[in-house]
Symmetry: C2
């Protein structure tokens, strides 16, 4: 078929390029430094140029902020539209605790939520399917998306379906974009940390990433290893209603380490955390040791990192603790004027920088 001929031609070109020029590597998709360089150097300068709407009146959040979503003021500026997007390529498509459909819906609901938009107006859903994928698998994924959307109180109102040939795409790729309509004052960014703010983590770290890797490796761990994938919009709403939330981020790709470093960097503050205070389940900690994976460096899919006004921290903790998935909420540290842009972790044996994960630790994890 003509398409295949051409595809072969392109493959050839790629191989030549490997010798002559830069090519995309798995690290470019890992959520760390390589990806940020690609996005910063190549995408942001070009798209920001066209991104007049968000920046027009200084009140919006545009692409250059590289936050979990964008905020576009509408009308007189008292209201705003929050928009986010994620493509999901996770493998295997069904995993302990969830599947690619639940991940797609929860991921997008959560990106909206951490922008302060806890009531999605709607989600879009776009499938790219591999020829030969069992219809029963597609049905199971769609059913899971429905259930997760209902759980989050979200609609899915428009979509698209493309099919690629056998071998042209592996399995099922799902893009979900999310849209919410909020009071402009409600919008929260990942850049708002102030010195003194409590840094709060809504629950155990590392569950999604380590459960997924263990499943892929076929390891039979005792204990309950499963992904934490779930919508967190109700939990975020409870937190925002209970006190002043100054910054939020969902610690997905790159995990807690990435989220904290980004929050410190964007706010120009330091963050001090106490390693022993960061919640990690026993099973995840053990599996992480066996697999050689740091639970702080891998994706969570149902957790939130909050910056909270210190006077409100106890009230916010209490509100989160009452929410499903928030039972283990903990203050893990605080923001400081010291070491701006850096995260310092007290290990119990000393202090060290918590650095961002690098490279391709876990491809196709979300």
């Amino acid at each position: 078929m003509a398409g295949h001929t051409n595809s072969e031609g392109e493959k050839q070109q790629v191989e030549n390029e490997t010798a002559d020029g830069d090519v995309v590597t798995l690290a470019h998709g890992a959520g760390g430094e390589a990806m940020r360089t690609l996005v910063d150097d190549l995408v942001v300068p070009r798209f920001t140029d066209a991104d007049r709407t968000a920046e027009a009146d200084g009140a919006g959040v545009g692409l250059a902020a590289l936050d979990d979503g964008a905020v576009h003021p509408i009308g007189d500026g008292s209201q705003a539209i929050v928009v986010t997007t994620d493509s999901h390529v996770v493998t295997p498509r069904f995993f302990p605790g969830g599947d690619i459909g639940r991940l797609a819906v929860a991921g997008t609901v959560n990106d909206l939520a951490v922008m302060g938009a806890t009531e999605p107006l709607t989600l879009t859903c776009s499938f790219v399917l591999e020829e030969g994928t069992p219809i029963a698998d597609v049905e199971r994924v769609v059913e899971s998306m429905r259930e997760t959307a209902r759980e989050a109180g979200a609609a899915i109102s428009t979509g698209d379906t493309k099919v690629m040939g056998n071998g042209e795409v592996d399995g099922i790729v799902i893009n979900t974009a999310g849209v919410a309509h909020v009071e402009a004052d409600d919008a929260v960014t990942d850049a708002g940390l102030r010195p003194g703010d409590a840094v709060v983590v809504s629950g155990t770290m590392g569950d999604h990433g380590i459960a997924l890797l263990a499943e892929r490796e076929g390891f039979d761990f005792t204990g309950d290893l499963k992904s934490d994938v779930a919508p967190v919009n109700d939990l975020v709403r409870a937190a925002m209603d209970a006190g002043e939330v100054t910054a939020m981020k969902d610690p997905t790709r790159g995990g807690l380490a990435n989220a904290l470093n980004e929050m410190a960097d964007k706010a120009g503050v330091g963050i001090d955390v106490v390693e022993g205070d960061i919640p990690v389940s026993g099973a995840i900690a053990s599996a992480g040791e066996v697999l050689g994976i740091d639970p702080f460096a891998v994706a969570n899919e149902g957790k939130v990192v909050f910056g909270v006004d210190p006077d409100d921290a106890e009230a916010v903790l209490e509100a989160i603790r009452d929410c499903p998935g928030g039972e283990e909420v903990t203050i893990v540290g605080h923001a400081t004027e010291d070491h701006p842009g850096r995260v310092v972790v007290d290990t119990g044996f000393g202090r060290r920088y918590m650095s961002e994960p690098e490279g391709e630790t876990l491809p196709r994890i979300c």
Copy 2:
């Protein structure tokens, strides 16, 4: 690597399923009957269940409408948010007249435009890249997206980047979702045709599909074969300002034949068209004959099919003719009370039904 082991396992499962159960085929992505069945049977009943927002007050357009986008009333219902999404898998990624980046931006701008939303609030952009893709190709695509967004007056304010392994995805997949904020009265659907309405086509048919297939086949046609991919939001705005537009659709996958059949079916009216009046360039007609492809059955990416109040048809035609890309705008027929749901074409030698394209005529065309 664990991911590959698992991927092999899934492939095996797919092969077993081919014998035992239904699997996804290329026809499911072709925009015709097979795709509609998949979406109607499997997706719509589930997602519609969650799609409360759009349907809540009866004024919105939700998933069940299977229009080019969804319309969500906000506030007191006098305003609305229009949302759309498309994933783009076109191959080759660079083709005569455009590339996958221009296609992604124009496709989403156009889906908003034919819902009556001619001023995008923002677009999202999500890349799935194959490991090994030349960075220079990514850069060229991003640059093209920027240029097309500027042409359309659209911002791109949030995005995502995933990387799949070599062989796990072929090249570059781009999802763009689009969001617009409109006066609720401005929203137009593809279901509004009334008997007597003029059916207007904004320009020549078949350019994108046939140019792309000719390129893939490596045929050296004389004449100017190139894709028509372009944003049409200014042209749509001009048409809407000039007279009453009752229905709109962009004739992408499945081409004019698919668009007209959907418009007739949804409105419960018949459509009569005169084949000789439908604009087709000489080069496209010749190439279509050689390739055995009907220019009315393949995608256009810079054209619109309008239903127009007959009293306003001349004014609308004149307004469109003044827009770039609208020079060959033509009234190709009219809606009728006869043969509801069917499109009848007068070939000059007789009358026949214009049926919807079936099967996998052109995979990965958009």
